[in-house]
């Protein structure tokens, strides 16, 4: 071997050896993030969050895994809980959207990181209305609106209160549909709006902790009565679509005139041309808005990259990411509005309201969903 070749080869070997530990190092700091959300959210994470985060933190990498749905996430959470007991690596660091009350013993066993300003410097920015548990970090929200076809309903006649909406539904039989409350939040929050209507339009009356069977037995039946009352005037005398996108589809096909929709999904449908921009109207009830929902991240205490995951969690509260949520997916921020730039606040003021009524999950969710299936869905006048 010639001297020059030898030198080149050894230099390459040294350079290679120098690179190797860096590869291994990089591999150790790949944050494994699992999401059960729809593809628009996975796209946001892959196309917006990941490049920006990796640029800001060159030593960290982010891997976004689509767990399909909440059940997929639950299986991984169960696995992580088992890994916690055997002190092994759960091969997962954080969830994009999850309820830390699951698995049942998770919080008690210390599966989830408890968020505070100590471990998440920007925690104080979080919208207080969005906080549901100390073990999850709200980072984005969306709201349910009513979308309608302007060719069939003049925007100036669009109902702006619950009573006007009910009157419109009854005056236009077959022109309104909402989806099953457990299969998509747009219908779910329409049902919750009826519950608010039946209970004095006060969202603060319902909290995760105040669920009791007695209270539910008092609070829910009046709402079933309201919903049963409008059922015969719905599409096909009381049919309910199987999900958010099916409702949007019926609106797009001109089958119905109005349907509840998620703000981010309808804006995206308009942007993609699924719904025509000039004839799709959006309206929110002014007496009490339809409920919204927040997506809350959770971080495993036993994940191999817990610290990196916490860094990412805090990064999601940065104004750059929060504004991306508004501009890219038409969602609204998890932080309070004063942390958002003025132009953006003004530009989206119409779509994104200042207050977002929410309805607690936990036991209420089960009671509302099953109650609806048992009391509203089998609308006897149909047959």
């Amino acid at each position: 071997m010639k001297r020059r070749e030898f030198l080149a080869a050894s230099a390459a070997a040294v350079a290679g050896a120098g690179l190797m530990p860096r590869f291994a190092f990089a591999d150790e700091h790949t944050i494994e993030l699992y999401s059960g959300s729809d593809s628009n959210i996975i796209d946001l994470w892959n196309n917006v969050v990941r490049p920006a985060f990796e640029k800001a933190n060159p030593d960290l990498k982010l891997k976004v895994v689509d767990a399909q749905d909440n059940n997929g996430l639950r299986a991984i959470a169960d696995r992580a809980l088992a890994a916690l007991k055997t002190k092994t690596d759960p091969k997962a660091d954080m969830f994009e959207h999850f309820d830390p009350r699951l698995p049942t013993d998770g919080i008690k066993e210390g599966l989830w990181v408890k968020f505070s300003t100590e471990n998440t410097p920007d925690y104080a920015k979080v919208n207080p209305m969005a906080i549901d548990s100390d073990y999850s970090l709200p980072y984005r929200g969306s709201q349910v609106l009513l979308a309608y076809d302007k060719t069939k309903l003049d925007p100036k006649d669009a109902p702006k209160t619950w009573d006007a909406l009910v009157a419109w539904i009854k005056a236009n039989p077959g022109q309104f549909i909402y989806n099953r409350p457990d299969k998509g939040g747009s219908g779910g929050n329409f049902v919750r709006r009826a519950i608010h209507e039946a209970n004095g339009r006060d969202p603060s009356k319902f909290t995760v902790a105040n669920y009791t069977e007695d209270f539910a037995a008092k609070a829910l039946p009046p709402a079933w009565k309201i919903l049963n009352d409008i059922a015969p005037s719905l599409y096909d005398n009381g049919s309910y679509t199987a999900g958010n996108s099916q409702s949007l589809q019926l609106l797009a096909q001109g089958v119905v005139t109005m349907t509840p929709v998620w703000s981010d999904q309808v804006l995206q449908a308009i942007a993609q041309g699924v719904l025509p921009e000039e004839t799709t109207g959006l309206v929110q009830l002014t007496d009490l808005a339809l409920c919204g929902g927040f997506s809350r991240m959770t971080v495993f205490t036993n994940g191999a990259n817990k610290d990196a995951a916490m860094k990412l969690a805090n990064y999601m509260l940065s104004s750059e990411m929060q504004e991306a949520i508004i501009t890219k997916i038409g969602g609204f921020p998890g932080v309070s509005w004063e942390n958002i730039s003025d132009d953006l606040r003004q530009k989206y003021a119409d779509v994104i309201p200042q207050t977002i009524p929410t309805f607690p999950s936990g036991d209420w969710e089960t009671a509302v969903n099953d109650g609806w299936y048992r009391n509203v869905a089998p609308n006897l006048s149909r047959s």
């Binding site: 457990d182 599409y235 096909d236 199987a242 019926l250 089958v255 299936y373 869905a377 089998p378």
Partner: protein, 295 residues
């Protein structure tokens, strides 16, 4: 009969037991797997629904969850809808598959190959794709409505979100298997028998009623059992095309288990579903056993 066959086989008694033992050893692993993956979960599900744990964790016998299922109007409605869908689909499947199978068995033209290809095609379409395709075609303002409208005919009420939606989807989905089984069953009917009947002047209808159908009983039973077992626990098509309520057992079980976090009642529903399927399974096993005895 199998027993007499063995007795007259030219193998000594000793050789027979050794061969029997080797045979048993060969099937031991699959049989154990069968026990572990199928038999054990069934008995465990039945045990879990009959012996309920109280707050201290001790189990005691109780039929509470079954009493709830069979006294709960909502659950019973779901069960009735499932039975209705299964029965309607079963009848429609036989009615549509039998003529196709007869044609494929007796036609000698080249067209038959294309018909067969067309009949088998649904086998390769996943049911989720089929669901969305059906929403687009037979759904409201779908392709069918557009065609009817373009020739000046009135709109038809759409089966989408009514109990007929899943029926259409399930018949479409199960047609290939039914056709294949019926064609296989028709294959065992000899041309000679039919020609003999024709020679003595039997009309095509009499040939069908007196020669073909009596020999088809078994394969009709097998085809119907298979279709019923598939339809009874169907999930995707009833979920996407069917009404919110009553719902078929598949979506009902899934919802009870996942959304209501109620494994006990979900398992009870599963055991009830299994009981009905077992009924058809026994038919199937019975007809297979009868076939064996004959041959």
């Amino acid at each position: 009969m199998a027993v007499t066959g063995i007795a007259t086989a030219p193998v000594g008694n000793l050789g027979l037991t050794r061969r029997g033992l080797t045979g048993l050893l060969l099937v031991a692993i699959p049989v154990l797997l069968l026990f572990w993956l199928i038999i054990y979960p069934i008995f465990s599900a039945i045990y879990d629904t009959l012996f309920l744990a109280d707050q201290t964790g001790t189990r005691h016998f109780s039929t509470e969850s079954y009493r709830f299922f069979f006294s709960d109007g909502y659950s019973l409605n779901n069960l009735y809808l499932t039975l209705w869908t299964t029965a309607v689909c079963g009848v429609l499947l036989i009615v549509t598959a039998l003529p196709i199978a007869l044609y494929l068995r007796f036609s000698t033209s080249r067209l038959a190959a294309y018909v067969q290809g067309l009949a088998i095609f649904p086998m390769f379409v996943p049911s989720i794709i089929l669901s969305y395709a059906l929403i687009r075609t037979i759904g409201p303002n779908g392709a069918v409505d557009i065609i009817l409208n373009s020739v000046g005919l009135p709109k038809l009420p759409s089966p989408y979100l009514s109990p007929w939606g899943p029926v259409i989807g399930l018949v479409w989905d199960n047609l290939p298997l039914t056709v294949l089984m019926l064609v296989a069953g028709l294959g065992s009917i000899s041309n000679n028998a039919i020609e003999a009947a024709r020679d003595v002047g039997a009309s095509p209808f009499r040939v069908l009623a007196h020669i073909i159908l009596p020999r088809m009983g078994n394969s009709l039973l097998v085809a119907a059992s298979f279709a019923v077992l598939g339809i009874f626990s169907a999930f995707t098509l009833p979920y996407l095309l069917g009404p919110a309520s009553p719902e078929m057992m598949g979506p009902f079980m899934q919802r009870t288990f996942n959304d209501l976090n109620d494994p006990l009642n979900a398992t009870t529903q599963a055991v009830v579903t299994f009981g009905f399927c077992l009924f058809f399974g026994i038919f199937y096993v019975y007809s297979i056993a009868r076939n064996r005895e004959k041959s």
